[in-house]
């Protein structure tokens, strides 16, 4: 059975790009355009891994992480995407339970390697 991944990213092109790549790698992908949608997808699909951008409309990536770690009390790996200048947010993300981060711009190939490592 393929592993499920929830991707929360407000840039639709990047989401599409990652979806294409991750599905090719055999993962089942659920895409959310903002944190609110991501929380709904996490609640309904019980993913094996979460990829989330930090800055998103309505609900931020940090809130998504705290929802998973505190409210749902889940231990699933979370990778956050951050842009330049969001170093403090990345630290906060790690403090509340993120497992890894990738600074934008990033290489999708490197992301795949990190996902595989976390899903072993």
């Amino acid at each position: 059975m393929s592993k499920k991944i929830v991707l929360a990213e407000d840039n639709t092109t990047l989401s599409l790009l990652l979806k294409f790549r991750l599905e090719k790698e055999g993962y089942e992908l659920f895409m959310a355009a903002d944190g609110k949608e991501a929380i709904e997808l996490i609640n309904t699909n019980s993913p094996d891994l979460i990829l989330t951008d930090i800055m998103m409309p309505f609900v931020s990536g940090l809130e998504v992480i705290s929802h998973v770690r505190i409210k749902l009390d889940l231990d699933i790996p979370i990778i956050v995407f951050s842009s330049a200048g969001q170093e403090e947010m990345v630290l906060k993300a790690f403090n509340i339970g993120a497992n890894d981060f990738m600074g934008k711009p990033f290489s999708p190939n490197e992301l795949i390697i990190r996902i595989k490592r976390l899903l072993i």
Partner: protein, 368 residues
């Protein structure tokens, strides 16, 4: 008809002010109706435009993703990629479609790196989008030229370096800033050569942007900043001072010492700050000797320097300024004394009946 005639007769019989009020109401009612219709048309036009935009976006996003994942292993363009380029080449001739394609590529350049960003750059070249950006450089409107430079920066187009360099001294600040960012983004420290000829002020924001751009590169090998420290443009000198501080330019200490006598006070103060950072002990002695001739701001900066570079032999000088009329100097002097001679500092109470002594400062320094 008789009814209308009747109404008109009644209208003519009305007093002038009432007639005017009716006429105004009529004109306003017609204006409201016309504006409502106009608004409806505009809204429907914008909705259609947004729908088209979305449709184009969805269409070209798929093209782009397919293009990015269909490359040959050796890095050359595959047949699929060639076909997509051909399709996009036709689309970019349409302004609306071109805008959508550019915005997708632009966003994606901020998000992905490595071979994908190389493919995006190839696409930008091959579809002819680069030519539209270059054409913008020759546009008579400065804001279009500025946008063109911004786009060329984003896609790292080095070929137009000479043309963009001409804009580094453009009379419009916005165009200059874009040109400066282009040069620094693409040529790093070498791109700063425009500072040699810059006569206009380099704003604080522009300086921050340039420094931020420089710091994102792995190669932090800085060039010779002495000519900029000696520039006749004060903003260039201040920028060079920031470079000296960030990149620990110990080799320019002599030039920094010269700047302590610069005609501009801001430059002199910034020089003290940089020399503090570079452990300029020689500068400290010089400033100490000329302390009385310094402006108050310089004196404060000097005490901040002393706070970091103080040695026991500075004690008499500090003692002399323990009750300086300026709050900040008094605070710094007390702090420095506390750090170098605690016993003497604790004994200050006895002397604190000095007329300029601030007991609150003393209390604060004691508690910290």
């Amino acid at each position: 008809m008789p009814d209308i005639q009747n109404i008109m007769d009644q209208y003519h019989d009305l007093p002038f002010l009432i007639q005017l009020a009716w006429a105004l109401s009529g004109v306003l009612s017609i204006a409201i109706v016309l504006l409502t219709i106009y608004l409806k048309i505009i809204r429907s036009y914008l909705r259609k435009k947004a729908q088209h935009h979305l449709a184009y976006k969805n269409k070209y996003e798929i093209f782009l993703v397919e293009y990015l994942y269909s490359g040959n292993d050796d890095g050359s363009l595959s047949d699929t990629q060639q076909t997509i380029i051909k399709k996009l080449k036709t689309s970019v001739k349409n302004k609306a479609k071109r805008k959508v394609i550019i915005s997708i590529l632009y966003k994606l350049m901020n998000e992905v790196s490595g071979e994908m960003s190389d493919y995006i750059k190839t696409l930008y070249h091959e579809t002819g989008l680069i030519n539209f950006a270059i054409d913008r450089l020759y546009n008579k409107n400065w804001y279009i030229a500025a946008k063109g430079i911004g786009e060329l920066t984003r896609f790292n187009i080095e070929d137009v370096n000479e043309k963009v360099s001409e804009y580094a001294l453009h009379p419009r600040r916005e165009v200059r800033n874009e040109a400066h960012l282009y040069l620094v983004n693409l040529f790093r420290f070498e791109g700063l050569e425009f500072l040699n000829n810059l006569k206009t002020p380099l704003s604080e924001w522009a300086q921050v942007q340039l420094l931020e751009t420089l710091q994102k590169f792995d190669d932090q090998q800085i060039c010779d900043i002495k000519p900029w420290l000696r520039s006749s443009n004060n903003s260039v000198v201040l920028f060079a001072l920031k470079l000296a501080k960030i990149y620990n330019q110990f080799e320019v200490q002599d030039t920094l010492m010269e700047l302590l006598n610069h005609e501009n006070k801001t430059v002199r103060i910034a020089s003290i700050e940089v020399l503090t950072n570079l452990y300029g002990l020689e500068a400290k002695e010089m400033l100490k000797a000329n302390f009385k001739d310094l402006s108050l701001e310089e004196q404060i900066s000097f005490f901040e320097m002393l706070e970091k570079l103080v040695i026991p032999s500075d004690e008499p000088f500090i003692e002399k300024h323990l009750f300086h009329k300026n709050f900040e100097i008094q605070l710094l002097a007390l702090k420095i004394l506390k750090s170098i001679n605690l016993d003497k500092f604790m004994a200050i109470d006895k002397k604190s009946n000095h007329k300029k002594a601030n007991p609150e400062i003393l209390k604060f320094v004691k508690s910290t």
